[in-house]
Amino acid sequence: MSVLAYGVVAWLFLIGIYGVVTSRNLIHLVVCLSVAQSATDILLLEIGYRAGGHAPVFVNLPAHPGPAVDAVMQALALTDVVVGAAVTALLLALVVQVHKRAGTLDPDQLRATRD
Protein backbone atom coordinates (compact mmCIF):
# COMPACT_ATOMS: atom_id res chain seq x y z
CA MET A 1 0.00 0.00 0.00
CA SER A 2 2.75 2.45 0.94
CA VAL A 3 4.61 1.62 -2.25
CA LEU A 4 1.54 2.35 -4.37
CA ALA A 5 0.60 5.50 -2.48
CA TYR A 6 4.06 7.08 -2.49
CA GLY A 7 4.92 5.64 -5.88
CA VAL A 8 2.07 7.61 -7.43
CA VAL A 9 3.63 10.81 -6.06
CA ALA A 10 6.99 10.15 -7.70
CA TRP A 11 5.30 8.92 -10.89
CA LEU A 12 3.10 11.97 -11.36
CA PHE A 13 5.91 14.39 -10.55
CA LEU A 14 8.31 12.78 -12.99
CA ILE A 15 5.86 12.11 -15.80
CA GLY A 16 4.70 15.71 -15.52
CA ILE A 17 8.29 16.87 -15.97
CA TYR A 18 8.70 14.41 -18.83
CA GLY A 19 5.72 16.07 -20.48
CA VAL A 20 7.28 19.50 -19.97
CA VAL A 21 10.60 18.45 -21.48
CA THR A 22 9.16 16.71 -24.53
CA SER A 23 6.22 19.01 -25.19
CA ARG A 24 5.71 20.49 -28.66
CA ASN A 25 2.94 22.83 -27.59
CA LEU A 26 3.11 25.40 -24.83
CA ILE A 27 -0.48 24.87 -23.71
CA HIS A 28 0.25 21.17 -23.37
CA LEU A 29 3.43 22.05 -21.49
CA VAL A 30 1.59 24.19 -18.95
CA VAL A 31 -0.99 21.48 -18.27
CA CYS A 32 1.83 18.94 -17.81
CA LEU A 33 3.38 21.28 -15.26
CA SER A 34 0.11 21.26 -13.35
CA VAL A 35 0.22 17.44 -13.32
CA ALA A 36 3.63 17.58 -11.66
CA GLN A 37 2.27 20.14 -9.24
CA SER A 38 -0.61 17.90 -8.18
CA ALA A 39 1.97 15.35 -7.03
CA THR A 40 2.92 17.70 -4.21
CA ASP A 41 -0.68 17.96 -3.01
CA ILE A 42 -0.99 14.21 -3.06
CA LEU A 43 2.21 13.86 -1.04
CA LEU A 44 0.97 16.27 1.62
CA LEU A 45 -2.41 14.59 1.97
CA GLU A 46 -0.85 11.13 2.08
CA ILE A 47 1.51 12.22 4.82
CA GLY A 48 -1.49 13.53 6.74
CA TYR A 49 -3.64 10.43 6.24
CA ARG A 50 -4.44 8.19 9.16
CA ALA A 51 -5.90 4.78 8.29
CA GLY A 52 -9.51 4.61 9.44
CA GLY A 53 -9.45 8.25 10.43
CA HIS A 54 -12.46 10.45 9.81
CA ALA A 55 -12.46 13.87 8.25
CA PRO A 56 -11.42 16.67 10.63
CA VAL A 57 -15.00 17.95 10.71
CA PHE A 58 -16.43 17.46 14.15
CA VAL A 59 -20.14 17.35 13.51
CA ASN A 60 -22.64 14.49 13.49
CA LEU A 61 -19.98 12.02 14.63
CA PRO A 62 -20.77 8.63 16.18
CA ALA A 63 -20.14 8.14 19.89
CA HIS A 64 -16.57 6.87 19.51
CA PRO A 65 -15.37 8.19 16.19
CA GLY A 66 -11.70 7.35 16.59
CA PRO A 67 -9.00 9.71 15.38
CA ALA A 68 -9.41 12.26 12.62
CA VAL A 69 -6.89 12.62 9.82
CA ASP A 70 -4.31 15.43 9.81
CA ALA A 71 -6.05 18.78 9.27
CA VAL A 72 -2.73 20.64 9.06
CA MET A 73 -1.66 18.90 5.88
CA GLN A 74 -5.10 19.57 4.41
CA ALA A 75 -4.71 23.27 5.12
CA LEU A 76 -1.31 23.26 3.40
CA ALA A 77 -2.65 21.35 0.40
CA LEU A 78 -5.48 23.86 0.16
CA THR A 79 -2.97 26.69 -0.12
CA ASP A 80 -0.98 24.77 -2.68
CA VAL A 81 -4.05 24.17 -4.87
CA VAL A 82 -4.59 27.91 -5.00
CA VAL A 83 -0.93 28.57 -5.76
CA GLY A 84 -0.98 25.99 -8.52
CA ALA A 85 -4.09 27.49 -10.09
CA ALA A 86 -2.58 30.98 -9.96
CA VAL A 87 0.65 29.90 -11.63
CA THR A 88 -1.12 27.87 -14.31
CA ALA A 89 -3.42 30.75 -15.22
CA LEU A 90 -0.52 33.19 -15.36
CA LEU A 91 1.46 30.85 -17.59
CA LEU A 92 -1.48 30.47 -19.94
CA ALA A 93 -1.72 34.24 -20.26
CA LEU A 94 1.96 34.31 -21.18
CA VAL A 95 1.39 31.55 -23.71
CA VAL A 96 -1.49 33.39 -25.37
CA GLN A 97 0.71 36.46 -25.80
CA VAL A 98 3.79 34.60 -26.95
CA HIS A 99 1.72 32.96 -29.65
CA LYS A 100 0.65 36.41 -30.83
CA ARG A 101 4.19 37.75 -30.87
CA ALA A 102 6.21 34.75 -32.00
CA GLY A 103 3.55 33.10 -34.13
CA THR A 104 4.17 29.64 -32.77
CA LEU A 105 3.35 27.49 -29.76
CA ASP A 106 6.24 25.09 -30.24
CA PRO A 107 8.64 25.73 -27.34
CA ASP A 108 11.56 24.62 -29.50
CA GLN A 109 10.78 27.31 -32.08
CA LEU A 110 11.05 30.14 -29.57
CA ARG A 111 14.44 31.69 -30.15
CA ALA A 112 14.09 35.22 -28.83
CA THR A 113 16.35 34.61 -25.84
CA ARG A 114 18.95 32.39 -27.47
CA ASP A 115 22.50 33.26 -26.62
Binding site: W11, I27, V31, V35, A55, V82
Partner: protein
Amino acid sequence: MSQAVIVVALVWVAAAGTAVVLTRDPLRQAFTAGFFGLALAFFYLSLQAGDVALSQIVVGAIALPLIVLLSLAKVRKDRE
Protein backbone atom coordinates in the same frame (compact mmCIF):
# COMPACT_ATOMS: atom_id res chain seq x y z
CA MET B 1 -13.45 -1.00 2.52
CA SER B 2 -11.95 2.47 2.59
CA GLN B 3 -8.62 0.84 1.79
CA ALA B 4 -10.05 -0.56 -1.43
CA VAL B 5 -11.51 2.82 -2.39
CA ILE B 6 -8.14 4.45 -1.89
CA VAL B 7 -6.39 1.86 -4.05
CA VAL B 8 -8.90 2.36 -6.83
CA ALA B 9 -8.57 6.13 -6.57
CA LEU B 10 -4.77 5.94 -6.64
CA VAL B 11 -4.74 3.82 -9.76
CA TRP B 12 -7.28 6.12 -11.38
CA VAL B 13 -5.22 9.20 -10.52
CA ALA B 14 -2.01 7.66 -11.85
CA ALA B 15 -3.67 6.54 -15.07
CA ALA B 16 -5.48 9.83 -15.63
CA GLY B 17 -2.33 11.85 -14.94
CA THR B 18 -0.38 9.76 -17.42
CA ALA B 19 -3.13 10.20 -19.97
CA VAL B 20 -2.98 13.98 -19.56
CA VAL B 21 0.73 14.04 -20.31
CA LEU B 22 0.49 11.64 -23.23
CA THR B 23 -2.44 13.47 -24.84
CA ARG B 24 -0.44 15.70 -27.14
CA ASP B 25 -3.36 17.52 -28.71
CA PRO B 26 -4.20 20.43 -26.40
CA LEU B 27 -7.93 20.39 -27.13
CA ARG B 28 -8.30 16.76 -26.17
CA GLN B 29 -5.89 17.32 -23.33
CA ALA B 30 -8.22 19.93 -21.84
CA PHE B 31 -10.81 17.22 -21.42
CA THR B 32 -8.43 14.59 -20.03
CA ALA B 33 -7.19 17.28 -17.64
CA GLY B 34 -10.72 17.87 -16.41
CA PHE B 35 -11.10 14.14 -15.95
CA PHE B 36 -7.79 14.09 -14.03
CA GLY B 37 -9.09 16.92 -11.83
CA LEU B 38 -12.12 14.80 -10.97
CA ALA B 39 -9.92 11.81 -10.21
CA LEU B 40 -7.84 13.93 -7.85
CA ALA B 41 -10.96 15.26 -6.13
CA PHE B 42 -12.25 11.71 -5.67
CA PHE B 43 -8.91 10.61 -4.26
CA TYR B 44 -8.79 13.55 -1.84
CA LEU B 45 -12.29 12.68 -0.72
CA SER B 46 -11.19 9.11 -0.06
CA LEU B 47 -8.41 10.55 2.12
CA GLN B 48 -11.09 12.39 4.12
CA ALA B 49 -9.99 15.78 2.77
CA GLY B 50 -13.28 17.37 1.84
CA ASP B 51 -12.00 20.94 1.75
CA VAL B 52 -9.20 20.09 -0.64
CA ALA B 53 -11.47 17.95 -2.79
CA LEU B 54 -13.93 20.81 -3.20
CA SER B 55 -11.11 23.19 -4.15
CA GLN B 56 -9.81 20.65 -6.62
CA ILE B 57 -13.21 20.34 -8.27
CA VAL B 58 -13.77 24.06 -8.68
CA VAL B 59 -10.19 24.66 -9.83
CA GLY B 60 -8.97 21.48 -11.51
CA ALA B 61 -12.16 20.23 -13.10
CA ILE B 62 -13.87 23.53 -13.96
CA ALA B 63 -11.83 26.75 -13.84
CA LEU B 64 -8.56 25.57 -15.37
CA PRO B 65 -9.99 23.50 -18.21
CA LEU B 66 -12.17 26.52 -19.01
CA ILE B 67 -9.15 28.80 -19.20
CA VAL B 68 -7.25 26.27 -21.28
CA LEU B 69 -10.18 26.14 -23.69
CA LEU B 70 -10.32 29.94 -23.88
CA SER B 71 -6.57 30.10 -24.55
CA LEU B 72 -6.98 27.54 -27.30
CA ALA B 73 -9.83 29.52 -28.81
CA LYS B 74 -7.68 32.65 -28.86
CA VAL B 75 -4.78 30.82 -30.45
CA ARG B 76 -7.01 29.34 -33.15
CA LYS B 77 -8.53 32.71 -33.86
CA ASP B 78 -5.08 34.27 -34.28
CA ARG B 79 -4.19 31.60 -36.77
CA GLU B 80 -7.15 32.40 -39.01
